[in-house]
Symmetry: C2
Subunit: 147 residues, 2 copies
């Protein structure tokens, strides 16, 4: 007996976009695992990627990710404990703290960027520069239409 539900939900472009995204994400974290950063979650990488070269405030981080400062705090705390981030005072504001990448964190961000650009390059190799431009434009159309 088949183990699958009998219903085949209607085919729509949202499902196609979702599948492509999931494939990209999976490939991305497979790359990360291969580079020895298996303990990095999606939320972790989303935080790390936002840290500027001179460091970034907690509040700016929270605003950029559209999460509460408490949620951002929790994420930063976890990355602090694992040695990817370090905390310092903000010289211009005694209330604020500056989150900075450690050398380990910087290495991780480089791997993250490299993984993304590698996947980007692989996709380009497959569908061509023209196809890439088309895809980008079409996705932008979808986004602006629906937003």
């Amino acid at each position: 007996m088949s183990d699958r539900p009998e219903r085949r939900p209607p085919d729509h472009i949202g499902a196609d976009i979702w599948r492509a995204f999931k494939a990209f994400e999976a490939a991305m974290y497979a790359d990360l695992d291969a580079e020895g950063f298996a303990d990095i979650s999606v939320a972790d990488s989303d935080v790390l990627v936002l840290i500027g070269p001179k460091g970034t405030r907690m509040t700016a981080l929270a605003a950029a990710r559209r999460i509460t400062k408490q949620a951002a705090h929790e994420q930063v705390r976890s990355l602090l404990a694992r040695g990817y981030l370090e905390l310092g005072p903000d010289p211009t504001d005694g209330r604020a703290k500056i989150v900075r990448l450690t050398d380990q964190g910087d290495a991780l961000v480089k791997v993250l960027d490299a993984a993304k650009m590698d996947l980007h390059a692989r996709v380009t190799a497959r569908i061509g520069t023209h196809g890439m431009a088309q895809l980008k434009a079409l996705l932008a159309d979808v986004e602006t239409l629906l937003r």
Copy 2:
């Protein structure tokens, strides 16, 4: 002073795909809210959409969503409590139970499908049938390449 982190992460196709998906999802749940189904989470709709006309086994549901049977159980329990699903025995297997849509659940699924198809139609109106076919093909390329 700017409140944004100074780092601008490298632009890659994964980000474009992600933004388009998020826009689709947001539009989808805005539609759902407008129809009076504001209490439906993403996980809820993911379950509902898999229920076949003759009902579906818990295990089949879990397998289709690639989650554990325990997680599926929890979701079904919540939808049961809100009257969208009902549970019956499987006549062919004393261990199994069949999850079925109630009338209310069926109405919700129809709204879900309609919302998806409406968004699909709006996107088609924007980028044309040809653009849609292109987008679908390009996304499928990305998916098969990276999977």
